[in-house]
């Protein structure tokens, strides 16, 4: 019996584990190795340089700028997305007028509309927002401003604003998914709880903070971790949408963009891999930390 079970498990697991080894673990192992060479991408025999690439990283101002931007996004993207998504989801599911528990009028329609950005490819979103942010009369935001005789805003061309524009696009794109996710979570909260709360005289805000949020905590936690990883992983929007691919003047660059630039523009594959290794540790570190910090008593119902 035990023997049969072992065979059964091995039969099911061997193939996926093999795929995982070949397509996930081996590239990682190779990246760790390449990070310690001066490989420039076209040679069959890269030279081993030890930790030289990591030492260089320490004085690479642009890399640290990218790290800083990733860290900013790591905080702002989840906070922004989850706050807005929770607000919308609450309105759509609980926040309706009148007696009983339900969403505002037309909530089914809004759910679909909020989900739209999620359906679009990231590259399309980036191109779309390039047009939205255009600094001349053709821009969706600047066109009306200029028609009123105001100065256009350099959403993507002013280095003080550009990162905020990127953040805005990222949140715009992410919110829809989390609205749907939180809606599903809220739908599974028993209606009786809200009704009991209403009878006790709780207002909408109290219901949100005392009933919804605690019962939704697991879902929020999952959303937080995914958004955090997404923030560390931001690439396409920055690469496609911003000037000089991470500019102007490196004001929107992120680690993934610097990895791409060093590998495929400068042909410094070893150095780029070293950045990748650093990003790897950031991500693992974040995942562990997020789990530790958000660990709390689970409410059973």
């Amino acid at each position: 019996m035990t023997h049969g079970r072992t065979r059964f498990i091995i039969g099911f697991l061997a193939f996926p584990v093999l795929l995982y080894l070949v397509y996930v673990i081996s590239p990682y192992a190779q990246a760790f190795y390449i990070a310690m060479t001066n490989w420039r991408g076209v040679n069959a025999n890269p030279q081993f340089v030890g930790l030289e690439n990591f030492r260089r990283l320490l004085d690479d101002a642009v890399f640290w700028k990218a790290v800083w931007h990733n860290l900013l996004l790591l905080i702002l993207l989840p906070v922004g997305t989850i706050t807005i998504a929770l607000f919308f989801a609450y309105l759509l599911n609980v926040g309706g007028e009148g007696r009983g528990v339900g969403g505002i009028r037309g909530s089914g329609f809004y759910k679909v509309v909020f989900f739209f950005p999620q359906v679009l490819a990231v590259a399309i979103i980036a191109v779309l927002f390039q047009q939205v942010f255009r600094p001349d009369r053709g821009g969706m935001l600047n066109g009306p401003l200029m028609a009123l005789g105001l100065e256009p805003i350099g959403f993507l061309s002013n280095p003080d604003i550009a990162l905020w524009s990127v953040l805005g696009v990222l949140i715009w794109q992410a919110v829809g998914f989390y609205v749907v996710l939180f809606s599903a979570g809220m739908a599974s909260i028993p209606k009786e709880m809200y009704e009991a709360a209403q009878i006790d005289g709780a207002g909408r805000a109290a219901m949100f903070f005392r009933v919804t949020l605690p019962l939704l905590w697991d879902t929020v936690q999952v959303g937080w971790v995914y958004l955090g990883i997404a923030a560390l992983d931001v690439f396409a929007v920055v690469w496609v949408m911003t000037a000089e691919q991470g500019g102007p003047d490196h004001s929107t660059t992120v680690i993934a963009a610097e990895i791409y630039r060093n590998a495929f523009d400068y042909f410094k594959f070893g150095y780029a891999s070293a950045m990748g290794v650093v990003l790897f540790f950031f991500t693992i570190g974040f995942a562990v930390l997020a789990l530790r910090l958000s660990r709390r008593e689970r409410i059973e119902y």
Binding site: Q30, S157, V225, Y226, L227, A230, A243, T283
Partner: protein, 484 residues
């Protein structure tokens, strides 16, 4: 890289949280950028020099001076960008076949050279002939550092396609040989000859009675006149790609201080960027940036600004001679593209009026470790014939490095204007090469110049910042250095 979790969280069973293992797996699975470089192409390792096969050669004769083997196929890889790939299929390949009917040519066109070819170089199986161009071109420094590019000296010394008594060396511009040489060895064939300058519409200028400025004061006065006229903005450039304006600044610097200004920059000399002519030129253009730019310039790309130009929303923009071809679909028929050289800055300029930034571009090379490199060189010899170059000029509106190949060909107005400007400049042409040698320096200059033009950096701070980067590259022993 989407925000979409690969394995959707199980929110439908709120009793179960996320285990640590699941979380870590998600962290890895969500596609951290690390395997990026590794997954695309990794070195094969082993065997000294990297598994290249022995090259095949044929018998050298008067008919076949490069010794192309009669029956061996070879591969031509063309960058399918601004020039398309029709010129290779319809002009150069039929021409090659007239002398080598039995040699099969495998034609590959791609918009992404590095993605297609880099793994092949790394695994020792490169194509014979490569048009290394476009945004995704491979780094020449890296290729040369790893000895991947064939020495083309035999091509230069071979008799030309048209006349057995004239060597190929003597049919092309000397700058082409200089540009294709790395450490004194000719390895890369730059084929198109680009002329930079300030572009305008003869129609717009004629209608308003505006004159091409010959001095910097006249230029500023013209900008002022245009601005006051309210008809259009005086000046713009591809704001999102500050290369276009740093090119202009450096050309003016060379005009003021002579070609050594640019030579010092290329050679990463100490203080090259802080030299007086460079600062003067940067200050001059920072003033243009502050006063005369089309609104929104900083945030627009080359196509957007060029289209604004075609719509008569702006009068002048700096660009290269590919402009007319690039804009051919949105230019009004009577627009009348024309180019003028940078105005003289003062009477004490080191170089006379008419000095141009002109350089051979659009690079081709033969892979040293390919199977049939001789066929690749022979293909270049065909390209460098009068017919091959002349038809190329007509098809894609671009001059080539082949002397006299454009004579008798039908030139569009912009190209005719560029050609005339080049004639007038004679030997007074300048160029810089760090953009190809040190991509990192190029990016830093571009980033800093964008800030200079929008008034966020003073010329002094601009120069200091770039000088720092230049010194950093000089110290970086992982980057191969070049001299000219």
């Amino acid at each position: 890289m989407s925000f979409f979790p690969v394995n959707g969280p199980r929110n439908d069973s709120p009793g179960r949280g996320l285990s640590r293992r699941q979380l870590l797996r998600a962290a890895v699975g969500a596609g951290v950028a690390l395997p990026f470089a590794a997954a695309c192409a990794t070195p094969v390792g082993g065997g000294g020099g990297g598994g290249s096969q022995p090259a095949v050669t044929g018998t050298v004769s008067a008919e076949n001076p490069l010794g192309v083997p009669a029956n061996e196929p070879f591969e031509v890889v063309i960058f399918d960008g601004g020039f398309g790939d029709a010129y290779a299929r319809n002009i150069h390949q039929p021409l090659f076949r007239t002398k080598h009917p039995d040699v099969q040519i495998k034609h590959t066109a791609t918009k992404e050279i590095a993605k297609t070819l880099q793994p092949r170089f790394a695994s020792g199986n490169p194509p014979e002939f490569v048009n290394n161009s476009g945004d995704n071109a491979m780094d020449f420094g890296a290729l040369i550092q790893d000895d991947q590019i064939a020495d083309l000296t035999p091509l230069l010394d071979a008799p030309s396609w048209d006349d057995p008594n004239v060597k190929v060396r003597d049919t092309i511009l000397p700058t082409a040989i200089e540009f294709g040489s790395y450490d004194g060895v000719f390895r890369v064939l730059p084929y198109a000859n680009t002329v930079w300058g300030i572009w305008y519409s003869t129609k717009l200028f004629d209608e308003n009675g505006w004159q091409v400025p010959k001095t910097w004061d006249e230029f500023l006065a013209l900008c002022e006149t245009i601005k006051k006229s309210g008809k259009c903005a005086p000046f713009t450039y591809a704001g999102k790609h500050p290369f276009y304006i740093y090119e202009t600044i450096l050309t003016l610097a060379a005009k003021i201080g002579g070609p050594d200004v640019l030579r010092n920059i290329d050679n990463l000399e100490d203080g090259a960027w802080k030299a007086e002519p460079v600062l003067t030129a940067a200050t001059a253009f920072a003033e243009v940036g502050a006063k005369y730019l089309m609104q929104g310039t900083i945030g627009l790309d080359h196509i957007q600004t060029q289209t604004a130009h075609n719509k008569y929303q702006v009068a002048m923009l700096p660009n290269g001679s590919w402009l007319e071809n690039e804009q051919k679909d949105s230019t009004p028929p009577d627009f009348g593209y024309a180019v003028f050289p940078l105005p003289s800055f003062s009477d004490s300029d080191a170089m006379p009026y008419g000095t141009l930034h002109s350089r051979p571009g659009e690079e081709y090379f033969v892979s040293a470790k390919s199977r049939n490199p001789r066929a690749g060189m022979e293909y270049m010899r065909a390209m460098l014939s009068k017919q091959g170059a002349g038809q190329f000029t007509e098809l894609v509106s671009t001059l080539t490095v082949v002397k006299g190949a454009a004579e008798g060909r039908k030139l569009s107005p912009g190209l005719a204007s560029a050609s005339a400007a080049l004639q007038a400049a004679g030997d007074n042409t300048v160029y810089f090469r760090f953009r190809q040698w040190y991509a990192e320096l190029h990016d830093e200059v571009a980033a800093a110049t964008g800030q200079l033009m929008s008034g966020r950096l003073t010329p002094q701070a601009w120069a200091e910042r770039i000088q720092r980067k230049s010194e950093q590259i000089k110290r970086d022993d992982s980057v191969k250095k070049f001299q000219r």
